[in-house]
C-alpha cells in the first residue's frame, strides 16, 4: 500500500473508529444520546448561553450515562426540521428544541420518530412523544417590575421584545403589574424588533426609548446591547435577561433574571433512562430554582432590595401571584376579577396587555 492521501485517510479513519468500538463493547449500557438545538450562538450571554450551561450541567451530573450534542444558529424555519431529523436519525433518543418557533417542526418530525422523545421549550403543542417545558420568567419580571416602580423617575419603562408571542406578552404584563403596585401611574412601551439577535437594532431601540423620556429599559432579546446603552446614557437602569450581564453594565444593571435549565435537563434525561418519561408540560419557576434573581446592582437602595426580595419570596412560598386579580386590560376593562388567578393555560395563550402597557399599533 503506497502512502498517499487516500490511504492515509483510511488509516486515520480506522484509528479514530477504534476507541469508539472499544467503548461500545465494554460499556455496560449505551449512553443516552441527547440533542439540543439552539436558535443563536452559545456565546450570546443570554438565552442560548443559559441553555448550553444547562447542557453542561446535565453532562456533569449524569456523566457517562449521557452523551450530548448541540447545534447552534438553527433558524425557526424548514432548516430546523432538517436538523431535528438528522439528530433523530443519528441515534439521539431525547431532543431539546429550545426556541418557540420550532414548535410545528418538532410536532412534524416527532410523528416520524415515535421512539424519540422531544422536549420543546416555551411551546404549547404536545403529542405522544413531545413534551413542553418552560420557566416562569414572569416571576422574575415581577421582581424587576417592583424595582422599576420604586426607582424610575419618569414612571416610564421601555420593553424591547422580539415578537409578540405569549411568552413575551406575559413578561411585559408581569413587569408592569408589579411596577404599578408601587407607582400606579407607571407605563411601559413595548417595541418589537422582529429578531432575537440584532445588537445594533437593540441598541438603537434603546436610544429611541431614552430619547423619549424612558428611564428604565428591559428587554426580551438575547444580548446585552440595550443595557450597554443604558450604561452609556446614565439612565436609571435596566435588567439582565437570561444571565448576569453586569460585565457590560456594572452600574445600569439593577438586577438580572437568570435562567437555570440544568435541573430540568437532568430530571428529563433521567426519566428517559428510567423509562418513566411522559409527555407533559413542566413549568417551574423561582420556587424550584429554575428562575433565579441575580445580584442587585450598586444603585439599588436597601429598601428597594427589601421590596424586591419580598416579591421574590412571596412567589417562592406561594403567598403572592402577580396574575391575581383585579386586573384590567390596557383599555381599562376588567379581565380578571378580584381574588381570581389566571390559570397556566390562560397565561400560555395570553394575547392581551394589562393596564399601563401602551400597546404597539
Amino acid at each position: 500500500m503506497t502512502l498517499n492521501r487516500r490511504n492515509l485517510l483510511k488509516i486515520g479513519g480506522a484509528a479514530a473508529a477504534l476507541p469508539l468500538l472499544g467503548s461500545r463493547a465494554f460499556a455496560q449500557t449505551e449512553p443516552l444520546k441527547v440533542g439540543f438545538i439552539y436558535i443563536g450562538t452559545i456565546n450570546d450571554n443570554g438565552w442560548n448561553y443559559a441553555h448550553n450551561q444547562g447542557r453542561l450541567y446535565l453532562e456533569e451530573q449524569l456523566g457517562d450515562a449521557v452523551e450530548t450534542t448541540y447545534v447552534e444558529n438553527v433558524p425557526e424555519g424548514p432548516d430546523c426540521e432538517r436538523v431535528l431529523r438528522e439528530l433523530a436519525q443519528s441515534g439521539h433518543k431525547l431532543i431539546f428544541a429550545t426556541s418557540f418557533g420550532y414548535g410545528d417542526y418538532v410536532i412534524k418530525v416527532a410523528q416520524q420518530f415515535p421512539d424519540v422523545k422531544f422536549e420543546h421549550a416555551t411551546g404549547y403543542q404536545r403529542s405522544e412523544n413531545v413534551a413542553t417545558y418552560n420557566a416562569r420568567f414572569h416571576e422574575g419580571r415581577a421582581v424587576c417590575g417592583t424595582i422599576a416602580g420604586h426607582m424610575s423617575q419618569t414612571g416610564k419603562a421601555g420593553y424591547i421584545g422580539s415578537f409578540p408571542i405569549p411568552e413575551v406578552v406575559m413578561g411585559i404584563n408581569s413587569f408592569v403589574l408589579a411596577a404599578r403596585k408601587v407607582n400606579p401611574d407607571f407605563t411601559i412601551t413595548p417595541v418589537y424588533i422582529s429578531t432575537w439577535n440584532d445588537p445594533a437594532k437593540e441598541a438603537d431601540a434603546a436610544r429611541a426609548m431614552i430619547d423619549q423620556g424612558i428611564d428604565i429599559i428591559t428587554q426580551h432579546t438575547d444580548g446585552p446591547a440595550a443595557l450597554q446603552v443604558a450604561e452609556e446614557r446614565g439612565i436609571v437602569g435596566g435588567f439582565g435577561q437570561g444571565a448576569d450581564m453586569s460585565a457590560f453594565a456594572p452600574n445600569a444593571q439593577l438586577t438580572s433574571i437568570i435562567d437555570n435549565w440544568g435541573p430540568h435537563y437532568v430530571k428529563t434525561a433521567q426519566s428517559v433512562i428510567d423509562g418513566t418519561w411522559e409527555s407533559k408540560d413542566s413549568w417551574p419557576g423561582l420556587a424550584e430554582g429554575e428562575v433565579q434573581i441575580g445580584p442587585y446592582g450598586p444603585k439599588v437602595p436597601e429598601d428597594v432590595i427589601a421590596a424586591a426580595e419580598a416579591v421574590k419570596n412571596g412567589q417562592i412560598d406561594g403567598s403572592f401571584n402577580i396574575f391575581t386579580g383585579p386586573i384590567n386590560d390596557h383599555t381599562g376593562v376588567e379581565r380578571v376579577a378580584a381574588g381570581v388567578t389566571l390559570t397556566d393555560a390562560e397565561l400560555l395563550s395570553m394575547d392581551w396587555y394589562v393596564e399601563g402597557v401602551i400597546p404597539p399599533a
Binding site: D44, P199, K201, Q228
Partner: protein
C-alpha cells in the same frame, strides 16, 4: 417634537447609516470596475471581529479600524484570487465569501462575547460634541466624518482623476481597456481590495460606533442592504449618500415611532424591515422605465475577463 428630540433622532440615524454608507461606497467602486462582490456581509463581519479583538486587547480604536480594514482587504483578496485570477463565477464566489466570513468571524470570536469594549469617542472637544444642539454637527466619532469625506473622495476619484477614468473604462469595456494596454485584472484587484478595506471599516463600526460588544452575525444583514444601496443609487456616490441616510432613517424611525407611540407606530414591524428592499425595487423599476435606461450599470458588471476567448 422638541428640537432636542429631532437632534437625538438625527444622531441615531447618522449612526445607523454610517456602516452601510461606507460598505456601499466600497462596493460601488468594485462594481464600477466591473466586478460584483456579494461578499460584503462576510467581509464586514471579519472587520467587526478584528476591530473588536484589537480594541479589546490594545484599547486603541484607531489601530482597531486600521487592522479591520486590513482584514477586510485580506478577505476580499480571497474573492479576488478566485474570480480574477481563476475566473470563477462572481455571484457564487461572493455568496461563498459571505458564508465564509460569517463562519470565520464566529470562530475567531469564540470567547470574546462576554467582553465589553468602549465606543470610539467623539472627534471634537466635549464643549461642541456634548452640546444639546451642536452635537448634531460635532457630536460624532471619526468614523462618521470619514464616511462623509469618503463620499466626496470616491466621487472625485471616479469623475475627476485619470485613474478613476481607467477604472470606469475597465468596468464598461474590459476588452477595449485591455487592447490599449491597461491591466484589467490589476485594476480590478485594486478595486476589490478597496472594497474589502471599506467593508472592513464598515464592520468596525459595529463594535466601535453602535454597540460596544462582539456578537456573532452582529451585522445582521446590513451588508446586503449596502449591496442593494449601490443599485438603488444607480452607481452614483452622492445619490448613494442620500440613499444610505434614507435607509438609516427608515431603520431608525421605526424604533422612534414605536417607542414614542405616534401614528407611525401603526405600521407593522415586518413592513418597516422590508422597506429598504421595496425602495430598491421601486428605484429599479423607475430606472428601467426611463428613456436613457441601462446607461448606469457598468456594462461588464459580473462578467469574467477572458481576453483570449
Amino acid at each position: 417634537m422638541t428640537p432636542e428630540l429631532v437632534v437625538a433622532i438625527i444622531v441615531t440615524v447618522v449612526g445607523a447609516s454610517t456602516p452601510i454608507l461606507i460598505a456601499a461606497l466600497g462596493e460601488l467602486v468594485v462594481e464600477k470596475s466591473g466586478v460584483l462582490n456579494l461578499g460584503v456581509e462576510g467581509m464586514m463581519l471579519v472587520g467587526a471581529i478584528t476591530a473588536f479583538v484589537v480594541a479589546f486587547t490594545t484599547g486603541n480604536h484607531y489601530l482597531a479600524i486600521l487592522l479591520a480594514a486590513a482584514a477586510g482587504v485580506a478577505t476580499s483578496l480571497i474573492f479576488g484570487f478566485l474570480t480574477l485570477s481563476l475566473s470563477a463565477n462572481q455571484t457564487a464566489t461572493g455568496l461563498a465569501l459571505t458564508i465564509f466570513g460569517t463562519g470565520f468571524s464566529a470562530l475567531a470570536g469564540q470567547g470574546y462575547s462576554a467582553r465589553p469594549v468602549t465606543l470610539l469617542g467623539p472627534l471634537f472637544p466635549a464643549e461642541l460634541a456634548a452640546h444639546p444642539v451642536w452635537r448634531v454637527l460635532f457630536g460624532y466619532s471619526a468614523l462618521v466624518y470619514f464616511s462623509l469625506v469618503l463620499v466626496v473622495a470616491v466621487w472625485w476619484f471616479l469623475k475627476k482623476t485619470r485613474a478613476g477614468l481607467i477604472l470606469r473604462a475597465v468596468g464598461e469595456n474590459d476588452l477595449s481597456a485591455h487592447s490599449i494596454g491597461y491591466s484589467v485584472v490589476g485594476v480590478r484587484y485594486a478595486a476589490v481590495a478597496f472594497g474589502g478595506a471599506m467593508a472592513g471599516i464598515a464592520g468596525a463600526c459595529f463594535p466601535l460606533l453602535l454597540t460596544p460588544q462582539w456578537a456573532e452575525r452582529m451585522t445582521a444583514g446590513r451588508g446586503w442592504i449596502a449591496v442593494a444601496l449601490v443599485v438603488f443609487a444607480s452607481w452614483r456616490p452622492f445619490r448613494l449618500l442620500a440613499g444610505a441616510y434614507l435607509f438609516g432613517l427608515v431603520m431608525t424611525m421605526e424604533l422612534y415611532a414605536k417607542a414614542g407611540g405616534g401614528p407611525l407606530s401603526a405600521i407593522p414591524a415586518e413592513l418597516w424591515a422590508a422597506m429598504p428592499y421595496i425602495a430598491t425595487i421601486v428605484v429599479l423599476v423607475l430606472i428601467s422605465i426611463r428613456r436613457d435606461a441601462s446607461t448606469n450599470a457598468p456594462a461588464c458588471l459580473g462578467k469574467p475577463f477572458l481576453p483570449s476567448s
